[in-house]
Symmetry: C2
Subunit: 313 residues, 2 copies
């Protein structure tokens, strides 16, 4: 193949209760990467479009290029590629923008290979891409953007990354306020020790959430979709968070918290209440004097997808 396009969705890291172990695809926005095969070895940046018109142009600094390079290397560097990137997922939003590019880059290059890897096997290459943005790379956004839906990192060594069943009719709402938080700073402020009583409270919630999603028990989903571990330590980074959350819950949300380390805030709601929840969250941000862009997508969502493959450029 000479030319292949792939896309990958935004994602919500942690999904409130799953710090560093859960992620979900959020198919309200996607990054698209087109890979063109070239004689010269290595990975180069082609055009950049969409939300940005400039991106770093080296595999050392660009997650899509780094992921593409990792795929090529694993295949024995049979050729070189030029990657053009269309950014649909905002960066620094807590929406997994760097992961979406890494996943789309890996998937596009993979589609050029004579014997491509299975999509799930692209995880280590996409993680190499994400490493450019965050070292060590966090799995949550990458695995969710790759596999779609709600994804659990059940084991790391060897990896066991599994898409979990989720009841039908659940929608994610995400509000991206016009402020920035730094993932590294948000992580650095976390306490390194957790009281045992809090570990137990966190355990019961993640067990309830995982079992509730898998068995369709909405009372368990609702009881579990709450972050008692991390959110209390980070809430001050986004002063309106608690009002936005209160508004979401009063409007019928199943749960509400930071997307990843923020600044975006997401909620889960049943389909019929999603518009009301979105409105309530938007109003709460507005009342706090913050503009926020709203997105909405079903929790049932596709991960990485090869869009088009052709034998000629």
């Amino acid at each position: 193949m000479e030319r292949a396009s792939a896309s990958a969705p935004a994602s919500i890291g942690n999904v409130a209760v799953g710090f560093d172990v859960l992620g979900q695809a959020f198919d309200a926005a996607r990054d698209h990467v087109t890979a063109v095969r070239e004689e010269a070895p290595g990975v180069r940046l082609g055009s950049v479009s969409g939300l940005v018109d400039r991106l770093p142009d080296s595999p050392r600094t660009n997650t899509a290029l780094a992921a593409g390079e990792a795929v090529l290397q694993a295949a024995g560097n049979p050729f070189g590629v030029r990657l053009s990137i269309h950014k649909g997922v905002p960066l620094s939003a807590g929406m997994g923008g760097s992961a979406a590019s890494a996943v789309a880059g890996a998937a596009a290059v993979n589609a050029l290979l004579e014997r491509p890897f299975a999509v799930a096997d692209l995880l280590p290459f996409a993680l190499e891409g994400e490493r450019v943005a965050s070292d060590p790379p966090h799995w949550d956004n990458v695995m969710a953007s790759l596999l779609g839906g709600l994804v659990l990192a059940a084991a790391v060594e060897p990896p066991l990354v599994t898409r979990l069943p989720v009841p039908a009719g659940i929608v994610s709402i995400l509000l991206h306020p016009s402020v920035e938080t730094e993932t590294k700073a948000a992580r650095a402020l976390l306490k390194t020790e957790v009281p045992m009583a809090l570990v137990v409270e966190h355990s019961r919630r993640i067990a309830a959430f995982a079992a509730g999603c898998a068995s369709g028990d909405m009372a368990l989903v609702r009881a579990g979709l709450e972050d008692v571990l991390i959110e209390p330590q980070r809430a001050h980074l986004l002063p309106p968070l608690l009002q936005v959350k209160k508004a979401a819950m009063e409007a019928g949300a199943l749960g509400c918290s930071f997307s990843g380390s923020g600044p975006s805030v997401f909620a889960w709601a049943m389909e019929g209440e999603a518009a009301k929840v979105e409105d309530a969250m938007s109003w709460a941000f507005m009342e706090a004097g913050l503009a926020a862009r709203a997105y909405r997508a079903s929790v049932h969502s596709e991960g990485a997808r090869v869009e088009k493959v052709s034998e000629t450029v």
Copy 2:
């Protein structure tokens, strides 16, 4: 009604990965309590039989009597009762012996009421019984003995206690070695702070276990059924534990750890491998010079059960 008998099964606290939030009924042994209605108010001890021939005779010191008293009080003390107890579940074994008596006591007295409580609503009364053995009472054994199967305490205030789906064909093996450990001592030695990295490792396992049980994904069950939080802190209390565990895993167990705070050790295995796992665990105890009694029961199991109700004594 004048006379009612009820029974409740043994139970496995924590189920390895679910410290203080998961419990499972273990229907290889049951306690039976017979309640006889009497004019004189209050709760008295009748005969004692089975594994013991003597038990404390006051609601201050006997879990069945205390639970029966709590049920009567909630019903407005319409009459008094005499409770005869047949112990099938060993005490101080880590098999939920005190909880089984409390649950059976509550269920037997409840069956005498003109308008009995629903079985699930007996939880607070059974917990009052368990409080005699352990204050504050731990929920895991009580809720499992009451509801049967694998039970999650998803929330405490207000309580949300849910029996989780479990794949068919899973068997629990339990070995009760001839040593004693003290629940209070086993709890006192636990660290009060947990490193965040360990919290994440624990989270991924309990999420995998809960989702795996609910969705029938045995790879998740296997990845999740491991206690990285508590077992390492308690393993020294039972020196052969690690050999017994190794033997169980090599024989095909899905997981193996302390039952509650020990000294009993349990494993999960698929039906076809349960005998092999039991043998391997027995041999490992024997090689360590400890006699151990083996029990086996399906994870699918009944909780509290009213055995017989009659209008005459």
